[in-house]
């Protein structure tokens, strides 16, 4: 086994790629293709469990590192590594992989091998993005995500799939190009594509501001941060269910992950300058997303706009520049991945049965489909951040961090405004639930719909379990990411304005959650 | 650096060497332009100006011109002209070669080179001639038997749509 465990990150990354190549060349029949894709995704998940259990939470240094000189006399290297932040997002990705594939059993019937191949290719690219510690490698994986997603939306999408696919592609490409220019500029000065060499660069303030802008634009489009979000509803609505789940579950996190991993530690001056602006935009996004979600007639679009709102929280947490806020942001990425992923799956379930997503078409579904209604309710509650569910922990930490932020002059105002987003979230979610599931079953076409099948339950239950688990045992995640967050944020603490903000968070040593189960500690280990 | 200086150098007023050789040519050009300009300018001042349509027609020995002067020549004439140029060039190469051949032939190592150079050149030319001959391009009336369709119009085959 050592030949696997020695290169575990490569295995996790390239196993799906190998699967997709098989699907395009050898396995051309529908049934075997589905099974092969599922098998590969499950195997990848099992491999990633190795990461979970052998991960050392005490250190924030990259683990399982693989580094091979690749090009330009080693100035560009094949360089993979994983810290706690990557670990969490990787686990989310590999978990969603088999779930998504299983969810397409009925939904996708055309060109199945190709579809599965694209899903696995996308998964490989996403995993590579989380592991890459060389900027060129990172960029290659980052862009490689675009092409499978373009085809997933464009070939298997809805009515306006062409428009949505092109819009998605062009938006993300615009951002990426500026980031590429930034990367080349830094490579020119650092003489190496290694992330550590980039971190070691001491750039003048002016350069940092421009570079931060270039990197941030790429990530903000991906998140998407208001006002760059317009591609998202189109992409979500037109994408097939599986595409939406991956898009919401993992792809959007690329943006926040990129901010945390690259934009923030590389350009402390840029962060210090732009944090007030960005956190304001994040709060606008939270409220705007919630308000637009409120009036959506289409369930899927509603969920899409709720993503804008939720990821606003994630960005707000990052740019509160407190450790608590950043940890909360990471938590939000996971919670959102689970709950919104599940919501898209659930919307897909009803769409398969009724071929519509208009809220007004439904009503009283709870009567005929009790299991579906129950799981939908749990997911809805998780999405709006009910205590005891994952979303609550995340939003609580973010709001708390923002409130205590000393770098954000208007941190308290932002907290108050962002909190209204939580309230609005409850409103649009519950209102939607009420209109779809409760009341009388007026529309005759809603009668006789089959409840969740066994397969659909298998798809959804792991997500539901995790929503609860992360809600009551935050320590599972936080213990593993704390050291990594410390390490990633270290460059910020050294620079001018940042230490005060982090210091304030550090003076909040112990925080007990109402449930009492999850006890998470920040600060020096001695203080626990 | 500037134009007058440049002209000065080129015309040989300043500087020496190769540039100086242009001086004569430049003077010729300038004098030629001045002469023509002077003649036309003086005539313009002296002559009466009374244009009419008849005066603008093409002069054909006093006859009334008929038809357009923009007529197409038969493509054969161009072929003849091309052949002439080909053999003309051959001769232009051959003549100076023959002149120096006598001196260069005895030089060891060089004689063979000079000889075979010209042989290769002539062989290539000969191959070209043979090729053209074999293709029937030397026939005054070329046979078009292998081709089908309305060749004469110049527009044949499916894709031949005139450009808009």
């Amino acid at each position: 086994m050592s030949f696997i465990t020695d290169h575990i990150l490569s295995w996790v990354t390239f196993l799906p790629l190998a699967g997709s190549l098989l699907l395009w060349t050898v396995v051309r029949r529908e049934g075997p293709a589905r099974l092969l894709a599922l098998g590969v995704a499950l195997a990848d998940f099992v491999l990633s469990l190795h990461l979970w259990f052998h991960f050392d939470p005490k250190t924030g240094v990259d683990q399982f590192v693989e580094r091979v000189a690749w090009l330009a006399d080693g100035r560009i290297s094949y360089n993979l590594g994983m810290d706690g932040i990557s670990l969490m997002l990787v686990m989310l990705t590999t978990l969603l992989g088999p779930i998504v594939i299983l969810s397409t059993w009925r939904a996708v019937t055309e060109r199945v091998p190709e579809f599965m191949g694209f899903l696995l290719l996308l998964q490989a690219a996403m995993l590579g993005t989380f592991f890459a510690r060389d900027m060129l490698l990172f960029y290659v994986f980052w862009e490689a995500m675009l092409i499978p997603m373009y085809f997933i939306i464009g070939v298997w999408g809805g009515q306006r799939r062409l428009y949505a696919a092109v819009k998605f592609f062009i938006f993300t490409m615009v951002g990426s190009v500026f980031m590429l220019i930034g990367i080349i500029y830094m490579y020119y000065h650092a003489g190496s594509m290694d992330l550590r060499a980039f971190l070691a660069l001491d750039l003048p303030r002016q350069a940092q501001l421009w570079l931060f802008g270039a990197f941030f634009l790429a990530f903000a489009i991906k998140v998407p941060l208001f006002p760059l979000h317009t591609w998202l509803p189109d992409a979500h609505v037109e994408a097939p269910t599986a595409g939406s789940v991956i898009l919401a579950g993992v792809l959007l996190k690329m943006g926040t992950y990129g901010m945390l991993r690259f934009a923030m530690p590389l350009f402390p001056q840029g962060v210090a300058t732009f944090a007030p602006l960005i956190s304001t935009l994040a709060v606008i996004g939270i409220i705007y997303g919630a308000l637009v979600a409120l009036v959506q007639p289409d369930v899927k679009k509603l969920v899409a706009y709720s993503s804008v709102s939720h990821l606003g929280f994630a960005v707000l947490g990052l740019f509160s520049l407190t450790k608590l806020g950043v940890a909360g942001s990471l938590y939000q990425m996971l919670a959102h991945g689970l709950s919104t992923g599940a919501l898209f799956l659930l919307v897909g379930v009803i769409y398969e049965r009724r071929h519509t997503r208009e809220i007004s078409e439904f009503g009283g579904l709870a009567h005929g489909m009790p299991r579906y209604a129950t799981i939908f309710l749990i997911t809805t509650l998780a999405s709006m951040g009910l205590p005891g569910m994952a979303g609550f922990v995340a939003e609580f930490m973010i709001l708390f961090g923002t409130f205590g932020s000393t770098t954000l002059a208007h941190g308290r105002l932002l907290t108050v405004l962002a909190s209204t987003g939580v309230v609005l979230g409850a409103i649009y979610m519950l209102w939607m639930y009420q209109r779809v599931f409760l009341g009388r079953r007026d529309n005759p076409r809603n009668e006789g719909l089959a409840d969740l099948s066994g397969r659909e339950l298998v798809v959804l239950l792991p997500l539901v379990v995790l929503m609860f688990w992360l809600g009551v045992r935050p320590g599972v995640v936080l213990d593993r990411v704390e050291a990594s967050i410390d390490r990633v944020l270290a460059p910020l603490a050294i620079e001018g304005a940042a230490p005060a903000g982090l210091g304030a968070a550090l003076t909040t040593p112990v925080l007990e959650l109402p449930e009492g189960q999850g006890r998470f500690v920040f600060g020096n280990p001695e203080m626990r | 650096m500037n134009l007058p200086h440049f002209l000065g150098v080129v015309s040989g007023v300043q500087g020496q060497g190769v540039q100086g050789h242009f001086a004569t040519a430049l003077i010729f050009v300038l004098v030629g332009i001045a002469f023509a300009a002077l003649a036309l300018g003086v005539a313009k001042l002296l002559r009466p100006s009374n244009p009419s349509a008849a005066k603008s027609t093409t002069y054909e020995c006093g006859e009334v011109a008929h038809g357009s002067s923009w007529i197409r020549f038969n493509v054969r004439f161009y072929l003849v002209a091309l052949f002439f140029i080909v053999f003309d060039v051959e001769m232009i190469f051959l003549l100076p070669w023959a002149v120096v051949f006598r001196q260069l032939f005895p030089v060891p190592g060089l004689g063979a080179l000079v000889f075979w150079d010209m042989i290769i050149f002539l062989a290539i030319l000969g191959l070209g001639l043979a090729y053209v001959w074999a293709k029937g391009d030397l026939d005054w009336v070329k046979k078009l038997a292998e081709r089908s369709g309305p060749v004469a119009t110049g527009i044949t085959e499916e894709e031949e749509v005139p450009a808009p």
């Binding site: 690749w70 090009l71 330009a72 960029y139 290659v140 862009e143 490689a144 092409i147 373009y150 085809f151 464009g154 070939v155 799939r161 062409l162 696919a165 092109v166 592609f169 062009i170 490409m173 615009v174 190009v177 500026f178 220019i181 080349i184 500029y185 490579y187 020119y188 | 650096m1 500037n2 134009l3 200086h5 440049f6 150098v9 080129v10 060497g17 190769v18 540039q19 242009f22 030089v107 190592g109 060089l110 080179l113 290539i124 191959l127 043979a130 090729y131 074999a134 293709k135 081709r147 089908s148 369709g149 060749v151 110049g154 527009i155 044949t156 085959e157 894709e159 031949e160 749509v161 450009a163």
Partner: protein
């Protein structure tokens, strides 16, 4: 032995010039073979051409030791030089010529039953390959001009190959006229240079310039004229207007060759001429270029920015795929000129590498158009509906080519652009990089519009039968697509080849 200031060449030099010599013989043999076959069996000329190109390629690979003396080996009385760059371009041109010959064999436009002189086409391709190789080797002004005319004359004939087609003859005539004008302009510049320096050798011109023996204003005029003439050849704005018409009118395999061969040769010639004549030092920054009267970097960067922007913006509006590719090739000239801005070794090596990548992906895209045209007799984008499903393997490869042309990783085009961007990653030229980046996004739109029509739109009813390609077509396309993918991930060896080429060129 000196005669008329030119060293007399010896037969011995031929051993360093074997690939070219072999190709010259191939051309003659192919003509002879075609003649003996009475023009009825084009396979004779085809087979001879393929064999000759293969032999030349093998010789060129085996010939790498010809570079041995620093700065390359001067041959034919110093008219030409065989150095790393010459060898790089030899391989590139032989590859391009071979691919064109092979694919043309399967093309209806070339081999259709009504066509005449089929064998001639292959012979001409071989001749053009030789001329392009000489363009990359010339280090004497006369040789440079002869090689350029050699390429020009062959390409005029090839553009008009479909001589019963109005479009093709129109393309040929346009090409002749524009080509003649550009040659005249360039020749005028070259003669001025000769007049001022009294030397035809690049090195001789350089020596006079270094000694300050030439008038700066005269140099300015000469350089501008030469640059204008060469810009015609590579189709840089504002000397680009012949390009789309010629590409559209010429048979597609010919357009494919035009879009890579003469362009690459033009760049090779520009690199050698401007670098060895005007650049100072091994890593010449712009300020110590000999062309002090011109702000060289500014001039070239403006041409570059305008060229890529114009090419891309006009390509956006094209509905004919071939014409779109023509404008896109103009845009790529703009990208390539980025490497020329600072006349630095880094930039020139980036040009070489990009030319290699560009040859692969652009030939591939054009060949796909050929394959489609064989079946559909159309190059209109609307006829490409659902093509991906009718010819899946070729369709996938077309996506690879398009992705690479856009410059998306993991395709080779991305790496090529990466190096070009790095070459001008200097404070002062940052704006050029940003313009180039934005241009990549624009190009994304029209390249992927083709991919979109092919894959995301379903074929019309009744037009959805599978289209078959021959094994030869698949082989050639795969030989272009696989390297396009591989070079995006592992390009070290080829980048080294390009670097070495520029290094040995600069060393002499």
């Amino acid at each position: 032995m000196e005669l008329l200031h030119v060293k007399i060449p010896s037969w011995g030099d031929l051993q360093w010039w074997l690939p070219e010599a072999v190709l010259c013989c191939t051309f003659l043999l192919a003509l002879l073979g075609d003649m003996l076959a009475r023009g009825r069996r084009p396979v004779v000329a085809f087979a001879i051409s393929v064999a000759g190109l293969l032999a030349a390629g093998a010789l060129a690979i085996a010939d790498t030791h010809a570079v041995a003396p620093a700065g390359g080996r001067a041959i034919m009385g110093d008219l030409m030089v065989v150095d790393g760059m010459a060898i790089f371009f030899r391989l590139l041109f032989v590859f391009g010529g071979l691919a064109t010959v092979l694919f043309a064999w399967t093309s209806e436009e070339i081999m259709g039953h009504r066509r005449e002189n089929k064998g001639e086409f292959f012979a001409l391709t071989v001749l053009m390959t030789v001329a392009m190789m000489v363009m990359a080797e010339a280090r004497n002004v006369l040789m440079l001009y002869l090689a350029m005319e050699g390429v020009g004359l062959t390409s005029y004939v090839m553009a008009g190959y479909m001589r019963t087609s109005l479009r093709s003859t129109e393309a040929s005539l346009k090409y002749v006229i524009f080509g003649a004008v550009s040659s005249a302009i360039m020749l005028y510049g070259l003669s001025l240079l000769y007049g001022m320096t009294g030397s035809l050798q690049f090195s001789g011109i350089r020596a006079v310039l270094l000694g300050g023996g030439a008038e700066p204003f005269g140099i300015l005029v000469a350089v501008v004229l030469i640059l204008a003439g060469m810009s015609y050849k590579i189709a840089a704005v504002p000397f680009h207007f012949w390009c789309p018409d010629v590409y559209e009118g010429a048979p597609t395999p010919v357009a494919a060759l035009f879009s890579v061969g003469p362009k690459a040769a033009g760049f090779a010639l520009m690199i050698r001429f401007f670098y060895t004549t005007f650049a100072v030092g091994t890593n010449a920054a712009a300020s110590n270029s000999l062309i002090q009267v011109i702000n060289w970097p500014l001039l070239v960067s403006v041409i570059s920015a305008v060229t890529m922007t114009f090419g891309n913006l006009v390509a956006l509006r094209q509905t004919n795929v071939k014409r779109m590719l023509a404008y896109s090739s103009i845009a790529h000239v703009g990208y390539l000129l980025m490497g020329f801005v600072l006349l630095s070794e880094m930039g020139l090596a980036a040009i070489l590498f990009y030319l290699l990548v560009y040859t692969l992906m652009n030939l591939g895209a054009f060949f796909f158009v050929v394959a489609v045209n064989n079946h559909l007799k159309s190059e209109q984008l609307e006829d490409y509906k659902g093509l991906g499903y009718r010819m899946p393997w070729a369709g996938v490869m077309m996506v690879v080519f398009l992705g690479s042309l856009t410059g998306v990783p993991p395709f080779a085009g991305f790496v090529g652009k990466l190096y070009l961007f790095t070459a001008v990653m200097d404070r002062q030229w940052f704006w050029l990089v940003i313009i180039a980046g934005l241009n990549s996004v624009i190009s994304l739109y029209y390249y992927f519009r083709v991919a979109r029509v092919m894959w995301l739109v379903r074929p019309d009813e009744g037009h959805d039968s599978p289209l078959r390609l021959s094994w030869l077509q698949y082989t050639v396309l795969a030989c272009l697509a696989v390297p396009t993918l591989v070079l995006g991930l592992y390009f070290g060896a080829f980048k080294d080849l390009a670097d070495a080429g520029i290094r040995t060129m600069a060393g002499g």
